[in-house]
Structures are given as structure tokens and as C-alpha cells.
């Protein structure tokens, strides 16, 4: 399995090269890979049907308990066949659809990357590995929706799809990590083996909700459904592949996969049936507003996805059987319908079903494919879609409300089938924006083959019953389940309901031209519900972001410094008060002499002058006085070397500062801001000083550990040959500090030198080219 996936990813990487070489016909060659993968999955069929899943494990990130674990059981096999099989036809189809597009090489890169990732999703037996592939499908979907990237609409829609699915993905990741910590393993087969541990865990509802969020967003369930119709901005092969047959079913897959582990509880039942039901309802109604063939199909896809979620939620064997068959049937008819819609768009120039008619003569083969698929989509015999729909009705017999909703949905699905597969083709008068002609063979093979499969499996359901449908249902149920599929069920209630559905649908379709314009005029421009919430949420968030940034990111240096000091005081002071940080403080001015207070008073006075004065010279001189006062304190406490240093530094600072400041324009010193600001600054400054004073007193209140001092005294002369201990500390004991400080001085000097030179690049053409807009705007 790992090798198959690596091959698929490898093929993605060489696909652009192949396409560049072969041009138009590349699609046929490239399709060999998915075709090969299809055969590979087919070859797994017998053993899987016999109840022996393919298992493979390779160590990946053992520290996190994540491994490359794969497991192909019935469910994985069904999905794998759909992904690889439909992928084969999509690869061929895309070669025709995008012939001549210079981005075709990139397209194949993305398409095959998606295919590989999707196969990874359905074969992973490790939650984290599954998530890795899951997000890869989101990314490739993003790039594919935005394939026509120079259109703004495409870009916006791609982004919407990404945000919705990636947002759900984040919740899902949290859910997976939670599941992993609940069960002690990320291996899915182990989770499935011990459902009781999960279901009875207090965190079960949270984990379920998080995982379900991921599944619902991916499978376009209400209220996250809106991204899917917008994803129709992608080229038709993408819509038929990612956004109907495969990727959007990943959510359904996940729910089905985890059903044995998380299902069977009231929470599971209500969550899935309510969301699935709401999805069916919302999408059914919204379908009525559509005229674009791809959007019609997109909404009908949402209806189908909702139905599947609903059936998984019900969870009875009958419901699961219906889900599996319906899923299979849906993939087989929806993909060709999308391809046919794409062909019509490509060859006749429109997707608006009201602007198309009579194409059947010029596009007979496309019509044939669309027609067959349409019959299946409408749930009519002898197609597989009929069996799927009948089973769904049977599966919901116990829940009349859900059943009623499904019947309405069935009618609308029939309407969609008529609009897409009948209306554009039927009739004698040809209406189309450009002269229609039949699609090339590459664009016919896929739709015809898939539609034919739908017919074949409808006529002879036994072909897939034992090898595919039963093992898939068994995987979802967690136990073997034997059932038989028939096209003809006999005169059952389900058949009656089918008849009801058909008559409703036909009535809707027959009168469509009358009621649809009225409906569109009334509700067409209304943007309410989830999409409005989504868009409004983003707008609000961005407005808030701008506001908070203006507030936080002030341009004023003084604010910066005030915030830093205030934060320090609040944090340190707060902790000091709360945790008794100042308990060791000794307040003992005893033994102080009068002249010591004198120095103190001088320093205080000079500080006050600094703050009050508006004259620069006075400020500088007063600062000098503060410095000298401190130096005298050093003298008092027997540190003459420090005092001398301080005197020197202060003298130099005063002289240099005076020289510099005198040359500055006089406005530079005017106090800015009002009285309030000055008071605030003062308060913050005083609080900062008080805090440090308090801490100093607290620290000096502790006994001092003089081990270092004693060592320096004892070793300075005998071991380091220096009588001046301070010097020895500087050049020997702590010479590294000195080295670095010397470099600091040298760098500072170099920096000053650089600053003093003229500004860059006046008249230098090269520099001008490099600095067109430069920095801060």
C-alpha cells in the first residue's frame, strides 16, 4: 500500500514533465497510473471479501506514536476503487477539457497529488496519518478550485473552501489527539476494537463533536455547505472528481470509518441525523434556485451527502446497507453528469440550462452518457441509483419525518437530472452561445464508461454484492452482514414511495419554467444563513484586528517605554505583594550620618530639576549632578575606583551631551502631551523606582554569601599574580566578559562611523533600483 501511494505521489511529480513532453495526448498515458491502481485494488478484492484486510505498518514518528499504518478493509476498498477508477477517467477527460491550457502540467501535478492523498485518507490506519492526508486533500482542493487564478471569484472561492475545511480540520485534529489520549493509541483498528473505552469516557461528547466538525465541513454539511457550490469555480474534471465523487465523501468516509468506535450512542444518532437532515432540507430548497448546471449538480451532491450522513447516524444494518449502495451509485452517476455538464460548457459555451436546448443532435454520445447517468440520479430503474434510493427508503422506514424529507429530496434530485441531462439536449431548435459539436473521445470515454457501469450494476447487482457492498457494510457495522441486492424488490412500500417521488419530481420538472423565475426573483439575491454568518464573521474579525493593532502598535516611543515599565511594575510588584516577596526587607536607616542625607537630598533636588526644567543646558547639568551624587555615595562606601570611573563617565557624558544637544533645534525638548500624560509618566517612573528600592532592601536583608569574594581575595595574588583584585577579575577571572565588552565598544564605534556617513545611494542607480519603496509606509 505504501508503495502504491509513493508511486502515486511520484507520478504526480513527473506528471508535469510528461505533460510538457506529450502535450495533448498526455492524459491517455497518465491515466495508466490510476488504471493500474484500480487493478491493484481489484486484486485485493477477494482477500478483503474473505475478511482478511491488507495491513501494513512502517515506523514514522515513534516519539509521538505515529506510524505509517495502512489497512484496506471493505470500506477502504470501495473508496479506493472509486478514487482510482474515477481518477482514471478524469485524467483522460482532463486531457481533452484542458487541451491547450498552458497550466495543464500543473493541473496533473495537483490532480495526482490529490488522488494519492485521497487514497491515503481511506487506507490510513493511523489517525494522525489520516489527518496528514486529509489536509493534503484540502490543500490540493484549494489549488484546484483556484485553478483559474486570475479570476478574482475563483480566488475568493478557493479561499472559502480552504478556510471552511481547514477550520474543521483543526477541530478534527484536536478530536483525534483527544481520541488518542483517551484510548492510548492512534491506530484506528485498535480504536474500533475497543469502543467501550471511548464511548464511556467523560470526554466522549467533546471528542465526537470535534471529529464530527471535521467530517461535516469536509462533506459540506449544513451549516458549512456553502463552500461546495462555490467550489464549482474549478474546471469540470475537478468538480466531477473532488467535489462530487471523492473528496467531499471524505467526511462521510470518516464517520463511517469511526462508526463502530463512536457510534451507537444517542449523541451520535441525534448529531448525525439532525445535521444530515438539515443538510438534506437546506440543499433541497437551495437547489430550486439554481440555473447553472454545475451548481445544480453541486446542490444535489449536498443532498446526497446529507442523506449518507443521515443513514450513518441511523446506523441500523438496513441503513448502512443503503448508505453503502447509495454512495457507490452516487459516485457512478454524479461524476459522469459533471463531466457531461463540463463537455456542454466546453463545446456549446454555457452552463446556464435556460440558454441551452437541442444539443442532442450534435452531441449524441454526451447525451447518451448524461442520460444514463441522469436516470440513475433520478432514482429510476434499471440503474444502480434506483436500488440505492429504494434501500434508503427502506432504511428509514422507522423514521417517517426523515423519510418524508428524503422523498422531497428525491423529487428534487429528479428535477436536477432533468435539467442537466434532458433539457439542454432535447428539442429540435438548437440554442447555445456557440456552435455546438461533439466532445472529443477523451471527454466521452469517462462519462460513457461510468454511466455504463451504473447501468450494468443496476441490472446485475450481484456483480458487486459479495465482493464490494457486503464487505463495505460489514466494515461500517463492525460485524459481517449478509444481504442480497435486487433490482426488483417486489411490490413493497418503498416502491410505492418511489412512485410518489417520481410523480412529484416530474411535476416539478414540468412546471419548472413557470415557478423558477418567480422563486429566483424573490429569493435570488438574499444572502442569509450560514454564509452570511461566515462572511460577517470574517469582516468583523478583520475590523477588530485593525482596531486592536492601532491600539497596541502605537508609533510613539514614549508609550512603548511606559508600557514596559508599567508592566514590569505591575508584574513584579504584584507578585511581590501576593507572594510576600519583600518579607526579608530591612528598613534600617540607623547609623546613617547627616552628611549622607545631604548627598541624598542633592540627588533628589537635581532629579527634580531635570524633570521640571525646560532648558537643555540645565537638564544636562542636573543629570551630571545626579551622577556625581551617586559617585560620592561610592566614595562613602569605600569604593574609590568605582567613584573615579563614575566621575569620569559623568563628566564626559555631560560634555558630549551638551555639545550634541546645543546643535539640535530648540523644539526637540518641549514636553509633548498634556498634563495627564506627564502625571502618568511620573507615576510609572516613581513606582518603578520604588519597586527596585524595595527589592534592593529585600535582597540586602538576606545574609550575603561571600564565597566568590573570598575566593577572589584568596587567589588573586597567589594564583593570578595580580594585587588589584578588580583588575584581576576583569582580565582573568572574568576575562570573557571583558573581551565581549571590548567588542561592544568597537562595534559601537563602527556603528557611529556608519551613521555619520552620508545617507545611502543618492545618485547611485543600482541602489535606487533596489530601494524603490524600501521600508516603512
Amino acid at each position: 500500500m505504501l508503495i502504491a501511494l509513493l508511486l502515486a505521489f511520484g507520478a504526480a511529480l513527473v506528471a508535469p514533465w510528461v505533460t510538457g513532453r506529450l502535450g495533448r495526448s498526455a492524459g491517455w498515458l497518465l491515466a495508466l497510473l490510476p488504471a493500474g491502481l484500480t487493478l491493484y485494488f481489484l486484486s485485493l478484492g477477494p482477500r478483503v471479501a474473505a475478511g482478511e484486510p491488507l495491513v501494513q505498518r512502517v515506523s514514522w514518528v515513534p516519539q509521538l506514536g505515529v506510524e505509517l499504518a495502512f489497512r484496506v478493509d471493505g470500506l477502504a476498498l470501495l473508496f479506493g476503487l472509486l478514487i482510482a477508477g474515477i481518477g482514471t477517467f478524469v485524467a483522460v477527460y482532463a486531457g481533452g477539457y484542458l487541451a491547450g491550457d498552458r497550466q495543464l502540467p500543473r493541473f496533473y501535478l495537483l490532480l495526482f497529488s490529490f488522488m494519492a492523498a485521497m487514497l491515503g485518507v481511506v487506507t490510513s490506519d493511523d489517525l494522525i496519518l489520516l489527518f496528514v492526508f486529509w489536509e493534503l486533500t484540502s490543500i490540493t482542493s484549494f489549488f484546484l478550485i483556484g485553478f483559474q487564478h486570475e479570476s478574482e471569484e475563483s480566488r475568493a472561492n478557493a479561499l472559502q473552501g480552504l478556510f471552511v475545511t481547514a477550520g474543521g480540520g483543526l477541530a478534527m485534529l484536536a478530536g483525534f489527539v483527544l481520541l488518542g489520549s483517551m484510548a492510548g493509541t492512534y491506530r484506528i483498528s485498535e480504536l474500533l476494537a475497543s469502543p467501550a473505552v471511548l464511548v464511556e469516557h467523560p470526554a466522549y461528547p467533546l471528542a465526537l463533536a470535534l471529529v464530527a466538525l471535521g467530517a461535516f465541513t469536509k462533506s459540506a454539511q449544513w451549516p458549512f455547505h456553502f463552500w461546495l457550490p462555490n467550489a464549482m469555480a474549478a474546471p469540470a474534471p475537478v468538480s466531477s472528481y473532488l467535489h462530487s465523487a471523492t473528496m467531499v465523501k471524505a467526511g462521510v468516509y470518516l464517520l463511517a470509518r469511526l462508526a463502530p468506535a463512536l457510534g451507537g450512542t444517542p449523541q451520535w444518532f441525534w448529531l448525525l441525523t439532525l445535521v444530515g437532515g438539515a443538510t438534506v432540507l437546506a440543499a433541497t430548497l437551495l437547489t430550486l434556485l439554481q440555473r447553472d448546471s454545475k451548481r445544480l449538480l453541486a446542490y444535489s451532491t449536498i443532498v446526497a451527502l446529507g442523506t449518507m450522513v443521515l443513514l450513518i447516524g441511523v446506523g441500523t444494518p438496513a441503513a448502512i446497507k443503503a448508505m453503502v449502495v447509495f454512495l457507490f451509485a452516487h459516485a457512478l452517476y454524479k461524476a459522469p453528469l459533471f463531466m457531461a455538464a463540463g463537455s456542454v460548457d466546453h463545446e456549446a459555451g454555457s452552463r446556464d440550462v435556460t440558454r441551452l436546448a437541442g444539443l442532442g443532435r450534435s452531441m449524441p454520445w454526451t447525451w447518451l452518457a448524461a442520460g444514463l447517468a441522469g436516470i440513475s440520479a433520478a432514482g429510476l430503474p434499471p440503474m444502480l441509483g434506483f436500488i440505492g434510493k429504494e434501500l434508503a427508503y427502506e432504511g428509514l422506514m422507522g423514521a417517517p419525518w426523515l423519510l418524508a424529507g428524503l422523498i422531497a429530496a428525491g423529487a428534487v434530485l429528479l428535477l436536477v437530472a432533468v435539467q442537466v441531462a434532458w433539457v439542454p439536449f432535447a428539442g429540435r431548435t438548437v440554442r447555445a452561445p456557440k456552435a455546438p459539436h461533439e466532445a472529443p473521445p477523451s471527454m466521452l470515454v469517462g462519462p460513457l464508461a461510468l454511466a455504463a457501469l451504473g447501468l450494468t450494476f443496476g441490472l446485475v447487482p450481484g456483480l458487486v454484492q459479495d465482493g464490494l457492498m457486503r464487505p463495505a457494510a460489514a466494515a461500517v457495522l463492525g460485524a459481517p452482514y449478509a444481504f442480497d441486492l435486487y433490482l426488483w424488490h417486489g411490490l413493497t412500500l418503498a416502491l410505492g414511495l418511489s412512485l410518489l417521488t417520481v410523480s412529484l419530481g416530474v411535476a416539478l420538472a414540468a412546471t419548472w419554467r413557470r415557478w423558477q423565475p418567480l422563486l429566483l426573483a424573490r429569493f435570488g439575491g438574499v444572502r442569509v444563513g450560514p454564509v452570511a454568518v461566515y462572511e460577517g464573521g470574517w469582516r468583523w474579525l478583520l475590523r477588530f484586528a485593525a482596531l486592536q493593532t492601532r491600539f497596541v502598535q502605537s508609533d510613539d516611543l514614549r508609550h512603548h517605554l511606559t508600557i514596559i515599565v508599567a508592566f514590569t511594575v505591575a508584574l513584579t510588584g504584584g507578585v511581590a505583594l501576593w507572594r510576600g516577596g519583600l518579607e526579608s526587607m530591612v528598613w534600617a536607616p540607623s547609623g546613617a550620618y547627616l552628611h549622607e542625607f545631604l548627598y541624598f537630598a542633592v540627588i533628589l533636588l537635581a532629579t527634580a530639576t531635570v524633570v521640571r526644567s525646560h532648558s537643555r543646558l540645565v537638564v544636562i547639568t542636573s543629570l551630571g549632578v545626579v551622577g556625581f551624587g551617586v559617585a560620592f555615595v561610592f566614595v562613602l562606601f569605600a569604593a574609590p575606583d568605582l567613584a573615579i570611573t563614575q566621575f569620569l563617565v559623568d563628566t564626559l557624558v555631560v560634555i558630549i551631551a551638551a555639545l550634541v544637544l546645543i546643535r539640535l533645534p530648540s523644539s526637540a525638548l518641549r514636553g509633548e502631551g498634556g498634563r495627564d500624560i506627564r502625571w502618568l509618566s511620573g507615576a510609572v517612573a516613581i513606582a518603578g523606582g520604588a519597586l527596585i528600592t524595595g527589592l534592593l532592601l529585600a535582597v540586602t536583608g538576606l545574609p550575603f554569601d561571600g564565597a566568590l569574594t573570598r575566593f577572589f581575595e584568596a587567589n588573586s595574588y597567589p594564583a593570578a599574580n595580580g594585587r588589584n583584585i578588580v583588575n584581576v577579575i576583569l582580565v582573568d577571572f572574568r576575562a570573557v566578559d571583558t573581551l565581549a565588552e571590548v567588542v561592544v565598544l568597537a562595534v559601537a564605534a563602527g556603528g557611529v562611523g556608519a551613521l555619520l556617513r552620508r545617507r545611502l545611494g543618492r545618485g547611485d542607480a543600482d541602489a535606487a533600483r533596489r530601494e524603490p519603496d524600501g521600508g516603512a509606509q
Binding site: A545, T549, L561, T709, D732, A735, V747, L760
Partner: protein, 506 residues
């Protein structure tokens, strides 16, 4: 062995000295500067290999035993950070060959660059708190000169804010060190780990707050980050990339070291506080980025946001959290610096950093587009790129300590990160080039691309083959959680025994 431990500092300093002597001879300077950075990278790799096989390495300068002299200590964390600095140094040195203008080179770019590398390595390796302050000074002054090199107006405006905030940080750090020395009588960090428990818990925790602020300014946490977005976008890209990648991480390193080795008297308080700070930093940073429309400014705000994830790992204070923080940091350095470098190449083509003046790069420059996608989606935490594992591991650490709100916040912030990255993607890559903007013909110089490709490969390697990286992160997490080995390496067996007896081993 001792030479190996000192080399990451001495080598670049010696290089800087020689480069000063060669001032004005640009071709020789360029060659020497690049070659020296590469040698430094090789030395760092050897150092890490040595640490991995022999355990924590220590040098006592001048032969004065700890705690009397100054010690350099290389545990796994330090060695990894030195290696990362070597990688970044080499990448930026190569990139600068094409990105930097001759004027700035003449003004002394090359020696300053190596002094900066030396300062960063010194900060990673020192085992002495005051010595750490000295290296901070060195890297501050060197970075300030690099930041303002060229004297453009906005550079000076940004530079003033940068240097003012960072000088206050230095001052606070010095004050804190002085107070700590008064309380314990020592500066050696291992010795401090031994003696801090003798200080009353309340006072020790209070002093820890001063260090939290001082290191926090360097790391650009909330509410101390504003100097970063005000300045990081002003110098040339090569310099921004080095700053954006490495410099704030020195602050994070200091937080990691300080709040595992030293300030653990009241973990519930200090690390609880860190958790709050982490959450707010993430949110404020990412929202700040959402409001920007200039390539480098978006990146600058994201630096802030992602510092929050690293602090989050620290706040959990478990082996997984700490190892995760380091993994996150290393991933982030590569991805973030790479995005700055990519911004520079985008500017080479389109002539601007303003998103509304960029466009058309996806159609015309697919290689650049791929490189951007790798770095940007990694930053946004998409699997299987490095950022995903980084996010996964800190989230898992959060689940372990049941920090639900912080986990929820960090996940939501991921979506907003994605928003910013896709904003750049849409504007610069997908949109057609706006009217009046002509993309420069011909591919950008290979020397601009080479480091970007190399860093992207690292991001891929950390994503696809993350096991060896996690093995390292696991060891780092273990070493940080239980610093007994650190104390033993620096002070010897008796001190380690005393440390364990005090209950220092966790």
C-alpha cells in the same frame, strides 16, 4: 574539546576582526565572510555530534573552576541552537551576496554580521548569567548597527524604537542579575540553580518576574513586542531574515533556560503566567498580521504570534512541552527566515513589498511559488510539513496537562495564520500583476534562490523525516525538565548530589 566549545564565538569574532582589516576590499570580504559562515556551520555540526555522543560539554575559562570563573556549557539545547545559528548564518551570508548593496558593505556590513553571529552563539553557550548579559549587549549593538546601516529615515525611526526597548531590557536584566547576585552570591547558572532554593520562595519568584520582562522584551512577547513590528521590516531582506529567524529566539532560549534551570520556585505561578502570556501573544500577533498589507510587516507580526506557541510549550513545563517548544522554535526559524528571503526574491521580480503592487508570480515563477507554499503552509501548520508536527506536539503537550483553553486558542490562531499566508499567496502569486507593474525578466540570481531552496528542504526534512528531530527534541525536553545533568557537568558530582537532595531533580 574545549576549543570546539569556544569556536562558535571565537571563530566569527576572529573573522570579524580580519574583515575589518580588509575594509573596502569587497570581493575578498565577500568570499571570506561566506566561507567563514560555512566553516562556522561545520564547527557547530561537529559540536552537536560531540554533545550527542558525549553528553553535556563544559569549558571553564582560564582554568578557574565554576562558579569562580565563567563557564561555557553545551547541552543539547545549546548545541542545537548554535547549529541552527550556523545554518541561518550561512544561508543569509549567501543570500546577502546578491541582496546587499555595495554601499552597505562598505559601511561595515560583513564584520557586523559576524559579530552578531558571535553574540548569538555566546548567548546560547554561556553558563554564566552576567556573561549572558554581555552577549546580549554584543548582539544588541551589532544588530542595531545592522538595522540602521544605510541611514534611511525609516530605518532610523525603527532603529530608535528597537534600541530603546532593548536597552531597557538590558537595564532590567542587569538590575535583576545584581539583585540575584545579592541574594545568592553567585552568577554561575548551575550554581544559581543550587543556591536559589535557599532564597525565600516569594523573593525568588519576584526576581523571576524581572527576568521574565527582560527576556520577554527580547523574545517579543505580549505586551512587550511593539519594537519588533516597528523595526524588522526596515533593513534589507538579508538582515531582516536573520533577525526574524534568530534574534527573538535568543530571548525564547533565555526564557527556556531561565524558567527551567533557575526560576522554578513557584511553577504554578510563573508558568501559569507564561501560559496567559503565550495565549495573548499568539492572538495579538496574528490579529496584527491580519491587519497588514505589506509582505514583511505580515511576517513580522507572525514572529510575535509564533513566539506564543514556544512560550506555550514552556508554560506546560513537561518534557513533551519543552521539547515541543524547541522543535517549534527550530521549525519556525527556518520557515520564517525563508519567508523573508522569499519576500526579497518577490521584490526582485516585482519591485515592491506592498501586496497591492505584487502579482503574477504563480504564472511566471512556479519555482518561487512552490518554495513559498512550502514555507507558508508549514508556518500555517499544514501536514506533513514541519509546522504541523510542531503544532501537533505542543497541542498534545497541552492535552496532557489539560490546558484546554490554550489548546483551543492555539488551534484557532492557526486558522488566522493560514489567513495571512493565503493573503500573500492570493495577492503576490495568484493575482495577475497589477497595472503598471512589469515583472523583471529572467530568473533571479541563483545565489538568492540557493539558500531558499536549502531552507525549504530543511522544512521538508523536518516534516517527512521528523523522527530524528523529535529524538533530539525528546532529549532536550528531558534535559530541561531535569537539570541535574547540567549541574553535574558544570559543578561536579557532589553538587549534583546536593541538587538532587534539595529536590531539584524532577
Amino acid at each position: 574539546m574545549s576549543a570546539l566549545l569556544v569556536a562558535p564565538v571565537v571563530w566569527p569574532l576572529a573573522t570579524a576582526a580580519i574583515l575589518v582589516l580588509l575594509q573596502g576590499r569587497l570581493p575578498i570580504q565577500r568570499t571570506l565572510s561566506t566561507a567563514s559562515a560555512a566553516v562556522q556551520l561545520a564547527l557547530a555540526a561537529v559540536l552537536l555530534a560531540r554533545v550527542a555522543t558525549q553528553g553535556i560539554l563544559v569549558v571553564q575559562f582560564g582554568g578557574w573552576d565554576a562558579p569562580f570563573g565563567i563557564s561555557f556549557v553545551a547541552d543539547h539545547l545549546s548545541a542545537v541552537m548554535v547549529l541552527v545559528n550556523g545554518i541561518m548564518g550561512t544561508a543569509v551570508a549567501v543570500y546577502a551576496l546578491r541582496d546587499l548593496d555595495a554601499d552597505r558593505e562598505r559601511l561595515g556590513y560583513h564584520p557586523m554580521f559576524h559579530v552578531l553571529l558571535a553574540g548569538v552563539n555566546g548567548a546560547f553557550l554561556t553558563g554564566d548569567l552576567f556573561n549572558l548579559y554581555v552577549w546580549f549587549e554584543l548582539l544588541l549593538i551589532a544588530s542595531f548597527v545592522l538595522l540602521t546601516l544605510g541611514n534611511r529615515r525609516e530605518q532610523l525611526e525603527g532603529g530608535i524604537k528597537y534600541v530603546a526597548a532593548n536597552l531597557v531590557a538590558s537595564m532590567l536584566l542587569l538590575t535583576g542579575i545584581g539583585l540575584l547576585y545579592g541574594a545568592t552570591g553567585t552568577l554561575n547558572m548551575a550554581d544559581l540553580a543550587l543556591k536559589l532554593p535557599l532564597v525565600p520562595d516569594g523573593l525568588a519568584t519576584t526576581l523571576a518576574m524581572i527576568f521574565l520582562v527582560a527576556f520577554g522584551i527580547k523574545a517579543a512577547i505580549f505586551p512587550l513586542f511593539f519594537w519588533l513590528p516597528a523595526s524588522y521590516h526596515t533593513p534589507p531582506v538579508a538582515i531582516s531574515a536573520l533577525f526574524g529567524g534568530m534574534l527573538t529566539k535568543v530571548g525564547v532560549y533565555a526564557l527556556l533556560r531561565g524558567f527551567t534551570l533557575l526560576f522554578v520556585a513557584d511553577v504554578a505561578l510563573t508558568h501559569g503566567l507564561l501560559a496567559w502570556i503565550a495565549g495573548i501573544t499568539m492572538v495579538v500577533g496574528v490579529l496584527g498580521a491580519a491587519a497588514q498589507t505589506e509582505f514583511r510587516k505580515i511576517l513580522s507580526f507572525h514572529i510575535v504570534s509564533q513566539i506564543g506557541y514556544m512560550v506555550m510549550g514552556l508554560a506546560f513545563f513537561t518534557p513533551l512541552g519543552l521539547g515541543g517548544a524547541v522543535f517549534y522554535m527550530v521549525h519556525n526559524i527556518f520557515a520564517k527566515a525563508n519567508l523573508f528571503l522569499i519576500a526579497g526574491i518577490a521584490r526582485w521580480y516585482a519591485g515592491s513589498f506592498e501586496l497591492k503592487k505584487l502579482g503574477g508570480l504563480y504564472r511566471h515563477r512556479p519555482l518561487l511559488a512552490v518554495l513559498f507554499v512550502i514555507a507558508a503552509f508549514s508556518l500555517a501548520g499544514f501536514p506533513p510539513l514541519s509546522g504541523f508536527w510542531a503544532k501537533l506536539v505542543v497541542i498534545r503537550a497541552g492535552f496532557e496537562v489539560q490546558a484546554w483553553p490554550l489548546v483551543a486558542v492555539s488551534l484557532s490562531v492557526g486558522l488566522l495564520t493560514l489567513y495571512s499566508m493565503t493573503k500573500i499567496w492570493l495577492a503576490a502569486f495568484w493575482s495577475p500583476a497589477p497595472a503598471g507593474v512589469e515583472l523583471r525578466a529572467g530568473p533571479a540570481p541563483a545565489l538568492l534562490y540557493a539558500p531558499v531552496v536549502a531552507l525549504a528542504l530543511l522544512t521538508l526534512a523536518m516534516g517527512f523525516a521528523s523522527a530524528p528531530f523529535f529524538a533530539l527534541a525528546e532529549r532536550i525536553g528531558a534535559e530541561l525538565t531535569d537539570p541535574t545533568g547540567y549541574v553535574r557537568a558544570v559543578l561536579g558530582e557532589a553538587a549534583a548530589a546536593a541538587f538532587v537532595a534539595q529536590g531539584g531533580a524532577r
